[in-house]
Amino acid sequence: MLVTANMKQTIRYARTYRYLMLSKVRTAGLVFLVVLPASCFWAFFSPEITGALAYISKDILETGLGTGSFTIGMTNFSLGDISYLLTEGIMPDILFSLGNFLVTLIILFILTFFLKIRPITIFIYIALLVHLCSCLFFIFFPELFPYTLAEYSELYMKQQMGIFICMTFVMGCVTSFLPIAPWKVILAVLGCGIYSFVFAVVRYTTFLFLMKEFSVLYMACMFFTFGPLIDFLYLVSIYSLVADHTSGMLAKDVGVWKW
């Protein structure tokens, strides 16, 4: 057969039907030796981790609010003991609740009639609706509000443990199945874990500060709006870095593809 320099030696199918060979041993090894232990790490060391989180937050908050404002409490959790900060929040009076209600209504009105539809406006819209519910609750049934700031702090910490474990597990699983070197999977899991912890400190501190200094009226909005879905932002961001790297790597090494 005549083969010239311009002719392809092999005609491959295009991207449409290509696939990769999975190293089952490598993937199983990563899942059992990295992902599961990393996920369990949070549960095994939950007293220490939540203790550190509570201690750092306490330190930061007391720098601004003065010492003695917070104490560290402990409670049982299905995965072990957890520590959390004990403090008192400010209950809103009727005027504060009404003021918030009106301001929220005005912003909702502006969003509805003056701003263009965007995903971020829908996100803000839903957050404001949650806050509106909170305002109504405090206007009509303030005495029935079921949480003190200490109870909220406990609920937050339990939820945070769930976030730590799930984020690590999800990140580990999605990267273990990518054809990349094991150390990159470990790096992604580690990066996700560290970011998760730092973000948890920032969020916990901010929440407690706002509710202690301003009002527990904002509790529902913060709980529902800046909860786990926000954690997914950094999880997906880290994943996109890994996936982009994988895509680039595979583009250079077409030999790994099967057709």
Binding site: T16, Y19, S78, I122, A220
Partner: protein, 426 residues
């Protein structure tokens, strides 16, 4: 106490349903990335490829009509023994008020294979237009394109060759946005489409489940549709209806991943909102009609039935989630948020994993790895906010479909606004 019990029960059920979708998408992703792929009939080289009628419903399409007609005329579809191409192009002018009519007549005067139909009476909308065009179409095989699509040269043959298999009732090709450089929305839609076709549709085809006929870049057997009464004119999602009509009567639907076709994706969020709302309304109308039929049909195996059911209810999930959010809000104010010791986070993880963007982030990421795309991968986090966007507008579409069903209201067709500025856009 009873109310709280049911609120918690709903919460837990929602988590389980979302996790079921998460498992489904994980299986799809794994299958697409690591399993040998099932090809369709593209390797058949037949001299007896059938005559095809290409139907293009058009309502005020003066901006894009040239593009699709020029692209179809460039197609290298086989000719018969006398040298005539075995295809006709039937653009259907459906109540247009712009220059669509003049454009089509100009093309018809110039090319013998273009046979336009002008409709200014009867029902409006794509299903009615297709029904009318099918009556005069010469081909037994019908291929449909929306007016903003730009088929590649070999596309028609790639689609029609599927019908060499007598069990195939419909075929669906892959849709790729052409205007990805327009703005962030079109780039995000490109990401979503990639996940939806490269992974989701192909994996469903690999696993002998139910690939979806999408109403454009696809074809079907004319007699099959006419024998069952044509398209239902009161349904907005005639494509989904056709998918389930065929699946419930034992016909195969083929997904042709090589048959790539370019479309113009919506360039504004307002248009996208209207589009997704219309899809949700139409899809849910089909859900109400076919839920029972799907459960009772004898033509689907258990796994096929489960997947078809999950596909049928996919536009119901945002509503389930929104109710889950309201439910959790209620539980929060009742002081009962401590469900499963704080593990309520699972709801949101399940939610995101399953419905964040019709395809979860790892499925979209996998599709882009397969497509060898790089930079657009960094847009993945933006899809998180689309979750709320879809939650909002799909829920609206769902309630519209409920009203449609309860009041027998007839949905009016809404055209997607075009953005092309002359030429073919390629």
């Amino acid at each position: 106490m009873v109310i709280i019990f049911f609120m918690k029960l709903y919460f837990v059920i929602t988590v389980l349903v979302m996790l079921a979708y998460a498992v489904r998408h994980t299986v799809f992703t794994y299958n697409r990335l690591y399993q040998p792929q099932k090809m369709y009939c593209q390797d058949i080289l037949s001299s007896d490829i059938p005559f095809v009628s290409v139907l293009i419903p058009m309502h005020n399409e003066e901006l894009v009509a040239h593009g699709v007609l020029d692209a179809l005329l460039r197609c290298d579809y086989p000719a018969d023994t006398e040298g005539n191409r075995k295809m006709e192009i039937v653009p259907i002018n459906d109540f247009s008020e712009d220059k669509t009519r003049e454009i089509l007549d100009t093309y018809a005067a110039k090319y013998d294979c273009i046979h336009p139909i002008h409709r200014y009476s009867g029902d409006r909308g794509k299903p009615a237009a297709l029904n009318e065009a099918m009556k005069s179409a010469k081909g037994q095989i019908i291929v449909v394109f929306d007016a903003d699509y730009i088929p590649a040269r070999g596309l028609l043959r790639e689609l029609v060759v599927s019908f060499m298999d007598p069990e195939v009732g419909a075929v669906m090709g892959r849709v790729i946005p052409v205007n990805t450089e327009a703005n962030i929305l079109t780039r995000l839609l490109d990401l979503e489409r990639s996940g939806g076709y490269q992974v989701d549709q192909q994996a469903r085809y690999n696993l002998n489940l139910l690939p979806q006929y999408g109403g454009t870049v696809g074809g079907f057997r004319k007699d099959l549709i006419l024998a069952t009464g044509g398209f239902k004119v009161d349904i907005l999602a005639e494509d989904t209806e056709l998918t389930y009509r065929l699946a419930c009567s034992g016909w195969k639907i083929v997904y042709a991943n090589t048959a790539e076709c370019y479309e113009e994706a919506p360039e504004t969020w307002e248009i996208r909102a209207r589009q997704i709302r219309r899809w949700a309304r139409g899809h849910n109308e089909v859900m109400f009609r076919y839920f029972g039929t799907l459960l009772s049909t004898k033509y689907l195996r258990p796994l096929q039935r489960i997947d078809a059911l999950m596909l049928l209810t996919i536009y119901l999930m945002p509503v389930v989630l929104l109710l889950g959010l309201l439910d959790s809000l209620g539980l929060f104010f009742l002081g009962e948020m401590d469900i499963i010791d704080g593990w309520w986070v699972l709801l949101f993880i399940g939610a995101y994993n399953t419905f964040g963007n019709f395809a979860p982030f790892f499925e979209v990421g996998t599709a882009n790895i397969l497509d060898a795309s790089r930079q657009r991968m960094f847009l993945l986090p933006y899809l998180s906010f689309n979750f709320y966007f879809y939650l909002w507008f799909i829920t609206q579409g769902f309630f519209e479909s409920v009203v449609d069903v309860l009041t027998k209201r007839k949905a009016s067709w809404q055209k997607t606004v075009r953005f092309r500025q002359g030429g073919t856009g390629v």
